[in-house]
């Protein structure tokens, strides 16, 4: 099945690593690699299981983490040309540090962009503003991984066998989009768990993907509580429903 939504449109593997580091209040220069690898893998497994697109890069980092973990267990440390010990975590730390820098630069630039867009030049009426920025912002408060946390909790309590069987014809993403659309049209906002209460695992997963899809296209706003226990889907402000 082809989804328009790619996981990496929301967050990438480095975002997941940073999230885990922040959540566990870990010193980035001294990452407990076994713990982080396990946590990281638990997300990747779920992402794979629900068949969310764009998982390849997550798997690449999973492999990298596993290899670092293995090298940490070597009896004698690897050394560089000068005989100094090499920390196997070095590459990951350096990449995280560099990424943090550019993430911050992106935020700074975003702020600059917003400030600048308060200043109007002449002829603004004839230049369609939309042509400049054709893309909707993805309407997810907090991160997609918080949503995945919710999904995990909901799936654990779902009344079905632990394997997620994919039966493509049962519920399509399009059908589940319509389901969400009707729900938020009727009550403005609805919690994810209440929408999928007592439903099958397959129903839960497809509804989840539909919610991501709609958040991606800016149709709904998805926000999750800090504890990650549930998330709320609400109609995006000013969003006209096109049926």
């Amino acid at each position: 099945m082809m989804y328009r939504v790619q996981l990496q449109d929301f967050e990438g593997p480095l975002d997941l690593l940073l999230l885990l580091i922040n959540r566990n209040e870990i010193d980035i220069f001294d990452i407990p690699i076994a713990q982080i690898t396990n946590e990281y893998l638990s997300y990747v497994e779920l992402i794979e299981a629900i068949d969310l697109d764009g998982v390849a890069e997550f798997i690449y980092f999973a492999a990298l983490l596993i290899s670092v973990k293995a090298r940490m267990l070597l009896p004698s440390p690897e050394e560089d040309e000068e005989g100094d010990p090499i920390d196997p975590r070095q590459e990951i730390v350096e990449r995280l540090l560099e990424y943090v820098q550019y993430k911050n630069a992106a935020e700074t630039l975003d702020e600059q962009f917003k400030q600048r867009s308060l200043l109007f030049t002449r002829g603004q009426a004839s230049t369609p503003v939309q042509s400049m920025m054709p893309e909707q912002d993805i309407l997810v408060k907090r991160t997609v991984f918080d949503l995945i946390d919710t999904l995990r909790d909901v799936l654990e309590n779902a009344p079905e066998e632990p394997t997620i069987s994919i039966a493509p014809q049962k519920h399509s993403i399009a059908e589940q989009c319509e389901y969400i659309r009707n729900a938020v049209f009727a009550q403005e906002q609805i919690s994810f768990s209440s929408m999928v209460m007592g439903k099958t695992r397959y129903f839960i997963v497809v509804t989840f993907l539909a919610a991501l899809e709609m958040a991606y296209s800016g149709e709904v706003f998805v926000s999750s509580a800090p504890d990650g226990e549930d998330f709320v889907i609400e109609r995006a402000a000013g969003q006209a429903f096109m049926g």
Partner: protein, 224 residues
């Protein structure tokens, strides 16, 4: 196209104002000087310093006069815009419901190119940890990035760089005006961090690392 006699009372400041108003691209100081000299007569070619002064005086006079126009120095040129204070009214008029916005993947990709330029896709992908092909295509389409040429390495990959339009859309006079790239240690709230210390920590970390309890981590953090 008949050439009118120019009016003697027209000053450089007025020409600058009229050009900054009438054009839809930033006009360089040099261009203003040329135009002024061309009409008034070759002898009178003004200095760029005179433009600078005119530019400042104009903005002062708008402010004093309670006017909503300002002249900006963007992308190496001068351009007239409105002030921030009237933005809500203009937004209401244009019914601009949503501020212009670049999605996170686009903004990250743009930031990496802005600071590393010229940069290859491989370099950008490496920083982000994901494929930036879509983001790059989109940014090229938006004319915020352009192909700068090809790198002189194997495969001769394309090099990406930011455009004049980028400078204009972000309100920058030139690339030197990009905000300083903040150091990661600063961002992580670790002012005392330096390279020496990383190396130390890295070396020390060799005998811990594996599944070490949170207390050890928080301890090393508090030391930092």
């Amino acid at each position: 196209m008949k050439q009118e006699r120019f009016d003697n009372s027209v000053t450089l400041q007025m020409v600058l104002e009229a050009l900054a108003f009438a054009t839809d691209v930033p006009v360089s100081a040099k261009e203003v000087c040329r135009v002024y000299a061309e009409v008034v007569g070759e002898a009178s070619q003004p200095s760029e310093a005179a433009i600078d002064e005119a530019f400042r005086e104009l903005n002062d006079s708008y402010e004093i006069g309670g006017h909503t126009m300002r002249i900006q120095y963007w992308a190496g040129g001068l351009r007239m815009t409105t002030t921030e204070s009237v933005a809500p009214f203009l937004e209401a008029f244009f019914r601009r419901e949503r501020r212009r916005h670049l999605t996170k993947p686009l903004m990250e990709t743009l930031a990496i190119v802005a600071y590393k330029q010229p940069a290859t896709k491989a370099e950008i992908d490496a920083v982000r940890g994901v494929d930036s092909g879509y983001a790059l295509r989109k940014l090229l389409e938006l004319n915020l990035l352009a192909i700068f040429g090809r790198a002189d390495i194997i495969g001769r990959p394309m090099l990406y760089a930011t455009t004049e339009r980028f400078l204009e859309e972000f309100g920058l006079k030139n690339l030197d005006e990009l905000p300083n790239l903040r150091q990661a240690e600063e961002l992580l709230g670790d002012a005392a961090f330096n390279e020496e210390r990383t190396r130390l920590l890295m070396a020390k970390g060799l005998d811990m690392g594996d599944g070490d309890p949170p207390s050890a981590t928080s301890e090393s953090k508090s030391k930092s």
